[in-house]
């Protein structure tokens, strides 16, 4: 079973990652590059040096590779969650798991930490990362309690787990962004859309590949 889980995660994540990388190339990446022009102009004005480590094709390749890694990770996490909860792994159900995962890692976290362009005002990284992770895990657990457990107590705990992180949301930085507001707004929307698609696609494809591999195993 371990081999089937890993193969499924790898194939589903690879295909989903390639599709999302293509989507990024036309949606979020142009906005990031545009924001970097403003950021570089500000740095040049301040006399500081700011060049991107990667550019051109190598940057696209590095971004695609990272996106594929994240997508394989998403697919494996969804497979693990479905196995642990005893769910049948099928495309539609797996896509729904993906939608809930997006609500946890995308919607809930963006309430406290809006998707950011380079050059936007920011606070200390570690604190933001910890809050992001804690919020995603807490919201995920809360959604599970709310949607999958029957007792009233579990549902109350579920709601509490979803609401609680937002009382500890990081203080936003003093707004002093170099990126224009219109660019930032477009990026926040695009980022959420890309993230939703990457979770749903990783889930749906994991369900599909799992079904194909299971059929193959039964046939042999």
């Amino acid at each position: 079973m371990i081999a089937r889980v890993l193969t499924t995660g790898l194939i589903a994540g690879l295909v989903a990652g390639l599709a999302v990388a293509a989507l990024q190339h036309f949606t979020t990446t142009p906005l990031i590059l545009a924001a970097e022009v403003y950021e570089a102009a500000q740095h040049a004005h301040d006399g500081a040096d700011a060049g991107a480590a990667f550019s051109g094709l190598s940057r696209t390749a590095a971004t695609s590779l990272a996106t594929i890694a994240v997508s394989i990770g998403y697919a494996l996490i969804l497979l693990a969650a479905m196995l642990l909860s005893g769910d049948a792994i099928a495309p539609r159900r797996a896509a729904l798991w993906g939608a809930c995962a997006f609500a946890a890692t995308g919607l809930a976290t963006s309430l406290g930490l809006a998707p950011q362009l380079p050059g936007m005002a920011e606070t200390e990284l570690a604190a933001r990362q910890i809050w992001w992770l804690a919020t995603a895990l807490s919201t995920g657990a809360g959604l599970f309690a709310l949607l999958r457990l029957d007792s009233t107590a579990a549902k109350i705990v579920g709601v509490a787990l979803i609401a609680l992180p937002h009382f500890f949301a990081p203080q936003p930085a003093t707004p002093e962004s170099t990126a224009p507001a219109e660019l930032a707004a477009r990026f926040a929307a695009a980022s959420l859309a890309v993230q939703a698609i990457s979770w749903a696609l990783a889930g749906a494809l994991a369900g599909l590949v799992w079904r194909l591999l299971s059929r193959e195993k039964e046939a042999s």
């Binding site: 079973m1 990024q24 590095a62 494996l76 497979l79 693990a80 950011q116």
Partner: protein, 60 residues
Amino acid sequence: MNAKSVNSTALAASRLEALKATAVALTLGFGLVWLAGFAYPESVHDAAHDTRHALSFPCH
């Protein structure tokens, strides 16, 4: 051993197998997301920079 206990032994074995697969998938899954979305080394950050921003992981 009667048919019922054979059946429940098989069920327990398949449950254990599923748990093992879950543990491996979770470790690898979180590991990959951590590496691409959170890890600190500058080279990893630079390579994954646009993905971190696009998928709204906290970034510099």
